[in-house]
Amino acid sequence: MIRVEGLTKVYTSGLIKKTYNKAVDSISFEVESGRTLGLIGESGCGKSTVALMLTKLLEPTSGKIFLDGKDVSRIRGSELKQYHRDVQIIFQNPENALDPRMKIKNSILEAIRNYHIVPKGSASERDLLNELMMMVGLQQEHLDRYPWELSGGQIQRAIIARVIALNPKVLVTDEPTSMLDVSVQAQILTLLKELQKEHGFAMLFISHDLDVVRAMADDIIVMNHGQEVERGSVDSVFLSPQKEYTKNLIKAFYYENEDNSGGIEVATDK
């Protein structure tokens, strides 16, 4: 379904003496329809940069992206617009993920109207909105609310509604529940799983929460400093991690060093 080869992003700074900072260093992977690839790592490891490049919100320095076997690395104009429809993204922070001045209805309609999915202002447009609300577990009355009148979980549902309206082939989720409470997280993740089963999109699931990735993904890639550290099926990576970094990450996440109160072996300060 979607495949990337050697995706790289280098930031340069300085005018004369240039310094290079490799945010993402030749990452390659492939996700099939209905499957979920988890991308885990600490903040600053480049996983969000991968998400932005994959959704073409950020130009990669090098590397290729293939959608359905077609090279889409250099597309522009209407092809790019179609790509934006096929590859959707859900961001981390629900608080600023929707325009605070727009009613939920209008934020969702923005997506629907951009692709002329149903005639503007028609009855079928209203039906579609209601159907979407039902699908993500919101009420019709939420359509007329503003984002700040909803809770984080409700906003995240509204965003899922907007994404699902476009019927994407690939869904990228960048820490979709890290700002939410655990009970709300359960609701959102369950919803995403159900929708995936129904619509069959491929999913790239980015998170630093190992439990969440474990619950969501089929395969995972562990990233550190922009590079791939380890990859494999969820069970193989969690149960028998090969690399030292992965082992440390898992230990720290599950507080495995914590039972003996005292020294904790952790990565040292810079």
Binding site: I89, A97, D99, P100, R101, N114, W148
Partner: protein
């Protein structure tokens, strides 16, 4: 979170301001302001003339409102021009960035490096003293604040997740600017507009007081205060009451600006979850 007392102040202040605005603009309909009657000169405040009369026998109260009306009108026009220029320049500067942004910022710094009073004197020399040169001078400085605020707002908005989200659902650059960025910027710039009208009114009064700007025999509040100065020992009402009127309007404009900010500030209006 603002409490209820603040809101009472906002509502009361706004109502009072609107009333006073109506008075200032409808006043001339039933005014005795410019009636010269030397028999009635320099009367102290009385029931008939609440603020007394001036050396030509004109009613100070109605002249104050007439003077205020002119200042408000000029202030409004000046700020409207500044608003439009500032918002456009600030948006372009921030959204497209690069060399254009650098050029605009440089221009702003150049203007700011001039002492404003000196520049205003120079303009008055070049264009002659009067309303026109005063307005030019006010505009040259006025748009800077809008441009700066807009620029910083747009720069912050450009990276907001909802802008990326709009891009990701296929919205064009044009749609993003006019559907998302402009309305969100207006929200913070409009309260500034009201605040700046207050500043401009004070500026106009100040310039007229100094002899630039509005010229006699027009009634203008700064001008009246200047004339009143001459009689400050003998007929203090000529100085005190116009000054008081000016102060009341300026304070109310500030209150209205705060009220607008409170109304338009989204994050303040509902969020209890932040507690």
């Amino acid at each position: 979170m603002k409490n209820k007392n603040d809101r009472k102040l906002y509502i009361g202040g706004t109502i009072l301001f609107v009333l006073l605005l109506l008075v200032a603009f409808s006043g001339p309909l039933f005014s005795k302001g410019d009636i010269i009657n030397t028999d009635n000169a320099t009367q102290p405040p009385s029931l008939q003339h609440l603020f007394g009369t001036d050396p030509l026998g004109r009613d100070v109260l109605s002249r104050s409102f007439i003077g205020m009306r002119l200042s408000l009108l000029l202030g409004f026009i000046a700020q409207l021009i500044c608003f439009v220029i500032g918002v456009i320049v600030g948006s372009i500067s921030a959204y497209f960035g690069g060399i254009l942004d650098k050029a605009f910022v440089f221009l702003q710094n150049v203007i700011l490096s001039f002492p404003s009073m000196v520049l205003i004197f120079c303009i008055s020399m070049l264009l002659g003293t009067g309303v026109f040169s005063m307005m030019v001078a006010l505009c040259i400085f006025g748009w800077l604040s809008y441009a700066r605020l807009t620029r910083s707002q747009v720069r912050a908005l450009k990276d907001a997740a909802f802008i990326k989200g709009a891009k990701a659902v296929g919205s064009s650059t044009f749609a993003i600017i006019f559907r998302h960025i402009v309305p969100n910027v207006i929200r913070t710039v409009v309260p500034m507009f009201t605040l700046m009208i207050g500043h401009a009114v004070l500026g106009i009064a100040g310039l007229s007081f100094l002899g630039f700007g509005v010229q006699p025999p027009n009634a203008e509040i700064g001008l009246m205060i200047r004339d009143g100065m001459t009689y400050i020992r003998t007929f203090p009402w000529l100085f005190v009451f116009p000054g008081l009127v000016l102060a009341v309007y300026s304070v109310l404009l500030n209150v209205v600006s705060d009220a607008l900010q409170d109304r338009l500030d989204i994050h303040d209006s509902a969020n209890i979850s932040s507690i």
